[in-house]
């Protein structure tokens, strides 16, 4: 019996050693710590795929770096948002963006996170001290934030260790977490402490509009699940232990990150790639499906190309690995999400070449979040534009660089669509609803949040290029990244860096574009020519001989003041470019030439993308039929075809 036991121990140890890979979470030329590590999580979780639940024990060591004693600690319990009376459900129903949850509460939407015990080392069991709070809206039914009051404060510089046991139930995938068939995306799945920020706890409820905010630290997470499951997670895998009972325990380690997400599915196919950047090799691990084989190379290629541009333009990606998850069909709600060193893309098996939205656009966007959220960890609850918007801007830059500016979203069947135009279209939907600076979770609606946080920010930064130059803005983002990576900068930090890099005070712009809701709209009111000697009864107009006075009137229709360029063309081939500061409501340009005006156009290069109406930006003397005729041709055909389709009844 003894021999037998010893033998078993040897086998287990051997197996453990065989599966243990001592791997750094960083790229070869990087060593930590990179951040001020406030938290150290150690989680041991067991996943039940039949019930879609996790039972786990969590140890959190919190380092009090706030400079003051702390006796109250708030925690997020995000999965409790997936209940019918939560703030998330209420806001989702209000804004009709929740899909199936809009009309009635589907039991499949239900998720929960129950803390079964909470102990503080040195103090004892505080489970009964758990008190749910709703700091944002006072909703007594929202259980997404709880706090515990310690009997005595944790002094500055000291540590406090929480030992928590919890039971998590996942919804069918919704708002970027949950299961679909055998697939699971486990995001926001464990009790997570709030952030002491600007002299107070920052621990918002889970809102429908916005995302998350957390402190940097280390994560050591073990997940036990059936051994046929393939798993991916934040950080790097450090071990894989066969438990001999049909389950396996996979361990992950991550440093200098502020969240931990994981995914599992027995049907995953693993496709590996790598990227060689300025700090060495980075492994790209794609978790995908056989049915998406046509997208495998597209995923790997776009990730490599994106990483290269971010590395060249903004700064190095310091981690050893990026895990890209391609969710299965029907799990759209899991697609397009970012976690540290872990992103989810999106595609369909029939995704045609020539459209770069799926999977390229999504992948570029989510990878960008490794910078604008992952490392520059802004407060997503309050300043969503700093992560989503700045990231949408860099998405435009990357996609344009790879696929060409005008064809960066779609280039197929004779149609083109630029990503910049896509962002602008989003912005047009709610151009004047909410200022960027407003706490994002208080935006008017989901539509407004999306239009402002994503579209408007990208559009206003693209527009700003006309003042400071594309290169300057790129340098500004580089400086912003290098200065604020692994910290929690504010919007003022971002604006300050841009001002500094551009070597000018752009306050006039920020006041309107960030703090205000002014709308930018310029128009050509008038462009015509009349003979100077108009009063001469014997006047005979001759091209090239008669002298004309040309009047061009430009009008600032909106309240947004912005310098614009205008181009005036004459019928002798001459063209003039003028720059108007836009401060007055209108400006008149007068030219006396032996030529008549042909056209006048504000922003002839379509770079002031904040201008909400391009139609009135120009006036051309000669009637332009091309676009009208083409659109009417299509429209006529569609009407004819519809009629012919209906005539099936005859």
């Amino acid at each position: 019996m003894k021999v037998s036991t010893s033998f078993s121990v040897v086998v287990v140890i051997s197996l453990f050693l065989a599966h243990t890979v001592a791997q750094s979470p960083f790229a070869p030329k990087v060593s930590g710590p990179l951040s001020q590590r406030v938290v150290a999580y150690n989680i041991d979780a067991k996943y039940d795929p039949g019930k879609h639940t996790v039972d786990a024990s969590e140890t959190l060591v919190y380092h009090n770096l706030t400079g003051q004693p702390l006796d109250r600690f708030p925690f997020h319990l995000y999965l409790n948002a997936f209940q019918s009376k939560s703030t998330l459900a209420h806001e989702g129903q209000r804004d009709h963006f929740f899909g199936r949850a809009d009309e009635s509460w589907d039991p499949k939407n239900t998720g929960s996170n129950e803390v079964t015990s909470l102990e503080v080392v040195g103090i004892g069991d505080l489970t009964k001290q758990i008190k749910f709070i709703a700091p944002d809206d006072g909703n007594p039914d929202d259980k997404t934030v709880f706090e515990v009051q310690l009997p005595h404060p944790v002094p500055p510089g000291a540590d406090v260790e929480f030992r928590i046991k919890f039971h998590a139930v996942f919804p069918e995938v919704l708002a970027r977490t949950g299961y679909k068939r055998t697939f699971l995306l486990a995001g926001q799945w464990f009790p997570k402490v709030g952030v002491w920020w600007n002299g107070a706890w920052n621990c918002h409820q889970f809102h429908a509009l916005t995302e998350f905010f957390a402190d940097f630290g280390t994560y050591d997470v073990k997940i036990t699940l059936p051994k046929d499951y393939i798993i991916g997670a934040t950080g790097v895998q450090t071990s894989d232990t066969d438990n001999g009972n049909g389950t396996t325990t996979v361990a992950f380690h991550a440093e200098d990150v502020h969240d931990f997400a994981w995914t599992a599915d027995p049907n995953f196919k693993v496709v590996d790639g790598e990227f060689s950047g300025s700090v060495g090799q980075v492994k790209i691990r794609l978790l995908t499906y056989q049915a998406h084989k046509s997208s495998w190379d597209r995923y790997i290629s776009i990730t490599q190309q994106t990483m290269k541009r971010f590395d060249d333009w903004y700064g190095p990606y310091p981690y050893a690995q990026i895990t890209v998850v391609d969710p299965p069909h029907g799990a759209l709600e899991a697609g397009g999400m970012e976690y540290p060193t872990f992103i989810t893309g999106d595609t369909v098996w029939w995704a045609p070449n020539g459209q770069y939205i799926l999977p390229e656009g999504v992948t570029v966007h989510e990878f960008g979040h490794q910078y604008w959220y992952g490392m520059v960890a802004t407060n997503e609850f309050e300043n969503a534009w700093l992560d989503e918007g700045v990231n949408s801007y860099t998405e435009v830059k990357v996609l344009s660089d790879i696929f060409g500016y005008n064809t960066s979203a779609v280039n197929m069947l004779g149609a083109q669509w630029s990503d910049a135009s896509y962002q602008r279209f989003e912005y047009l939907g709610a151009a004047d609803r909410d200022p960027l600076s407003q706490p994002s979770y208080t935006d008017m609606s989901f539509g407004s949040y999306a239009a402002i946080s994503y579209g408007k920010t990208a559009t206003m930064l693209l527009t700003l290029e006309t003042v400071v130059g594309e290169k300057t803005l790129r340098d500004a983002l580089h400086n912003y990244f290098m200065r604020y990576r692994f910290t929690h900068p504010t919007q003022e930090d971002f604006l300050r860096v841009v001002n500094e890099t551009a070597r000018q005070d752009l306050g006039w712009y920020w006041q309107q574009a960030v703090y205000g809701t002014q709308v930018l709209d310029y128009e050509v009111l008038r462009a015509d020519s009349a003979p100077v000697n108009w009063y001469d009864e014997k006047l005979e107009e001759k091209k090239g001989e008669t002298t004309y006075e040309t009047q061009v009137l430009l009008h600032r229709k909106g309240d947004f003041i912005y310098p614009v360029e205008a181009e005036i063309k004459f019928d002798n081939g001459e063209s003039v470019r003028v720059r108007w500061d836009g401060r007055d409501r209108w400006v008149r340009y007068v030219y006396v030439k032996k030529a008549k005006v042909v056209s006048a156009q504000i922003d002839p290069d379509y770079r002031v993308t904040l201008d909400r109406n391009y139609l009135n930006n120009s006036y051309v003397e000669e009637t332009q039929h091309g676009a009208t005729v083409k659109l009417v041709t299509y429209w006529t055909f569609c009407t004819q075809f519809l009629g012919q389709l209906l005539s099936w009844l005859t």
């Binding site: 299965p328 332009q624 091309g626 299509y634 009629g643 005859t650």
Partner: protein
């Protein structure tokens, strides 16, 4: 009658071609109504784009962003102009419903009608054809329900299957099945239309019921003709679309030509099928039905081969051209109307 299905495809084609004036008229009306349906959008677009350079991005290519920008501009709101398109599409449906009895009559008699004859034939059976169209809604609604069921099934499978394509193939299979059923139902009601004209029988429920049995038992080759015509026309359509994608963005006249060729092919598809159904009915007269209910006015048109309304063709008289003594209906010179009228 085992040998008489041969050539219905070709005979129908030549019958439709002999009366291609119908095709051109229907196409012209379709085009005019299409243009009217687009006129509201055209006016707004002209106002917005005629003196703006913004349209160049649409004229020199097809900038989706500019189109969407147009769509959301308060002064344009492009997609708010879809109402007239729907209205004129419905008007086209009513127009076809009105002229269809005349078209069937022309095909059945295989001669050129005067304008008066044409509209008299149309008017005489208009309400009967409206009733028949309403009856035809029953099978089409059933087919639609079947399609709905296929989609539900696809959704159900999509929710459970690991492979993305599973539901897609279910949908494709469902679509093909539904399409085949819809084509069969259309053929059945086309035959009912022909019978109604041939026998001057306005009892449309009886026409539908009789032709249901007839279509079920004896129209396999006609059905294949319908499918063949559909396949052929859709191959032409796809070819045109492929060519259209190669057309330079500024070549709007060529685009217009290609799109209208697609429409012409689509319209011809239905007329060709109607011509096939007419030819088929003439080749396969049904057993003598019960005497029709008396009609309240003089029938305007009669069938050239019908002895008299209600007696139709003598089933013992072979009419297939292959049969000795039978008139060759594909080459016969047009004749004036015969019969009791």
């Amino acid at each position: 009658m085992a040998n008489d299905g041969r050539g219905v495809f070709g005979r129908g084609f030549w019958l439709a071609m002999r009366h291609q004036r119908i095709l051109w008229w229907v196409f012209a009306i379709n085009l005019v109504l299409g243009g009217l349906g687009a006129s509201s959008a055209a006016r707004t677009l002209a106002q917005a784009l005629h003196h703006s350079l913004a349209g160049q991005k649409l004229a020199d290519g097809f900038d989706v962003g500019m189109l969407l920008g147009l769509a959301v501009q308060p002064e344009v709101r492009l997609f708010s102009h879809t109402g007239p398109s729907f209205l004129f599409a419905v008007i086209y449906l009513l127009f076809l419903l009105f002229v269809m009895p005349a078209i069937i009559s022309v095909y059945y008699e295989d001669r050129r009608f005067t304008t008066g004859e044409f509209f008299a034939a149309a008017g005489a059976f208009f309400w009967a054809f409206v009733r028949l169209a309403l009856w035809s809604l029953i099978p089409f609604v059933l087919v639609h329900l079947l399609w709905h069921g296929a989609r539900e099934l696809a959704d159900y499978i999509d929710d459970r299957a690991v492979a993305d394509q599973a539901s897609f193939y279910i949908l494709v299979l469902g679509f093909v099945l539904v399409l085949l059923l819809a084509i069969w139902a259309r053929m059945w009601f086309d035959l009912a239309q022909v019978r109604s004209i041939a026998l001057q029988d306005r009892a449309m429920r009886r026409n539908a019921v009789r032709m249901f049995g007839f279509a079920r038992r004896r129209s396999r080759k006609l059905y294949w003709s319908y499918i063949g015509i559909g396949v052929l026309v859709w191959i032409v359509t796809i070819l045109m679309v492929v060519i259209w994608t190669k057309v330079p963005p500024r070549a709007v006249p060529l685009t217009f030509l290609l799109l209208e060729l697609i429409m012409l092919a689509q319209i011809f598809e239905r007329l060709w099928q109607k011509a096939c159904a007419t030819t088929w009915y003439r080749l396969h007269p049904e057993p003598a039905p019960a005497a029709p209910e008396p009609v309240g006015f003089e029938p305007v048109l009669t069938a050239p081969y019908a002895g008299s309304p209600g007696t139709a063709l003598d089933v013992d008289v072979p009419l297939s051209p292959e049969v000795e003594g039978a008139p060759d209906i594909t080459t016969r010179e047009p004749e004036g109307p015969k019969g009791p009228a």
